[in-house]
Amino acid sequence: MMKKQLGRILISSIFFTIALVLEINFQLPLAAFALFLVSYLLVGGDVLLRAFNNIRYGNVFDENFLMSIATIGAFIIGEYPEGVAVMLFYQVGELFQDYAVNKSRKSIADLMDIRPDYAFVQRGGELLQVEPDEVQVGEIIVIKAGERIPLDGIVKDGFSTVDTRALTGESLPRDVGPGDEILSGCINEQGLLTVEVTKEYEESTVSKILDLVENASSNKSKSEQFITSFARYYTPIVVLIAALLAVLPPIFIPGATFQTWVYRALIFLVVSCPCALVVSIPLSFFGGIGGASRKGILVKGSNYLEALAKADTFVFDKTGTLTKGVFKVQKVQPQGMSEEELLELTAYAENYSNHPISHSIKNAYNKEIDHQRVSQVQEIPGHGVSAFVDGREVLAGNFRFMEKMNISYHKEDFPGTVVHVAVNGQYAGYILIADEIKDDAQLAVSELKKANIRELVMLTGDTQLVGEKVSSELGLDKVYGELLPGDKVAKLEELLAGKSSHGKLAYVGDGINDAPVLARADIGIAMGGLGSDAAIEAADIVIMDDEPSKIATAIKIGKKTLKIARQNAIFAIGIKVGVLILSAFGLATMWEAVFADVGVTILAVLNAFRALNVGDL
């Protein structure tokens, strides 16, 4: 289709060149006219045909019609070369535009390439290949090496590594084995996996992500809304002025000829098409959204991308957003024994406890527990554990436990959870357990500061002390601690009321218990969307993995996209209006008009195309 079009344009331009030579160098106007006409019909025949068909349907203001009128008009007033040239350039422009649109459609299709085509399901002792949406919850599916995981589920059998690249933008292999949750859209890289399906296809991760990206365009940005309404008035107004320009001056201005003014009016018609704007601005946003999703950042609409570019306040949840949400031993402070001994005794005493704190102590100890060495384990709810390890009585618990047992202990406000330990009635020191700051949280904060974010705030349900420690380590501006989920909404309202009127406030959370806060902020950003439906539902922007530095990337993409959209709007409107004014005074020819229409469209589309390229952001 495009090759045929290109062929027609090439042949037509050969005829056009010969015609020009005949007219200028050999003074053969009639032969030249014949060739101009052939060239014109060859390149513009389909436009004329479409214009004719559209008139029958009552579409007068479409671009085919405008182009036909302008070029036929040029022929009637004897400007043959310009009539052909306008059509030629218009078609070259259309070709370019089709190419650019096809290319971006292809990039988007590649993006959508995470859709699984089939699933192998076990039914009645047989393995059947079915469409993913035919598989029921609870059925067993089998995924071979190299295949895409069709539905969310839990691994029943087999070990493998899966590639989450399609979902997170990062090719991070993840090891899975029996009991592990597995997400659709990922690729099974090695072994054979038998998986019990936990979600129907419609509800599975892959189909949610696809749905989200495909429907992102229904939330239009202000720039897009502006262009839509601009286009609605622009064309009729320009066409109306063209009509007046053709008729009025020759009647009222002495000496003015129809020839001159019709020519000027035709220029108006060529410039009257809003194509450059209508194509390139949504394309810029689509490119931005597409590029972002390639980086594992899902944006639910152009409006959010636009808002993100204007954000000046960022409010973070602490646990799971800036910190890992996993407790880890930070400090072992013995008294009268070695660190190893304190850790060993505590790990043994805590061995039978299922509390997350016990797990982190056992993880820190990281050695096999010899059960023979522990006896008389007793858990005292709200206090701690007592046990005999190697015949020594070990008490491990909070300060209340120490007070209850009348043991004097180290008193301090700790930034985290503390387990005090006493051995044979003597205080033996404490172990500090706290959440860890994420590896790239520091990078996220410094990048955000570079992006001129006015204020970085942290909200946490944790104590003020813990909050302040994290906040000062990262260099945040404010921290509010001891907030219950309900308090967070109130705090956010306060921040919203206090921010500057044009800046936007973004809230970053994990989407697990802060859905109302996500919804209330100008922009709700959920981290770690991978595997969390709640996050995907509640947020406006979802960061698929749990790297906070992706927020800075998202801002950069938003700013770049907005800049491109603005460049295009100003460039296209500016050139068009400029050419209109020039041509009204007879200072522009149809060549400038063609540039103002087609040239601007091509340049704007090429510019919009840059939005898709987010490789270096």
Binding site: R50, N53, Y57, G58, N59, D62, E63, D98, V101, S104, R105, I108, M112, E214, N215, S217, S218, T228, A231, P274, C275, V278, V279, P282, L283, F286
Partner: protein, 73 residues
């Protein structure tokens, strides 16, 4: 009820915008989006009026861009 279609051959962004506007005015339609880049159209509307909506929508599409072929989305 929500129905989605593929519009193969959708060539002009302005036409897509016009389609969206005109289809949204049909009786019984609650929301319609025509996505120029993914060439997907999603129509939401009342169940019992759906056959009529789809018929009218197809006419609008054919009028604006006769070369478009409606496919299953």
């Amino acid at each position: 009820m929500k129905k989605s279609f593929r519009l193969d051959g959708l060539g002009c962004a302005n036409c897509a915008a016009k389609m969206e506007k005109r289809i949204s005015k049909l009786d019984g339609v609650s929301k319609v989006t025509v996505n120029f880049m993914t060439t997907k159209m999603v129509i939401e509307g009342e169940d019992e009026k759906m056959p009529m909506i789809l018929e009218e929508a197809e006419k609008i599409i054919k009028k604006l861009e006769p070369q478009v072929v409606l496919g299953k989305g």
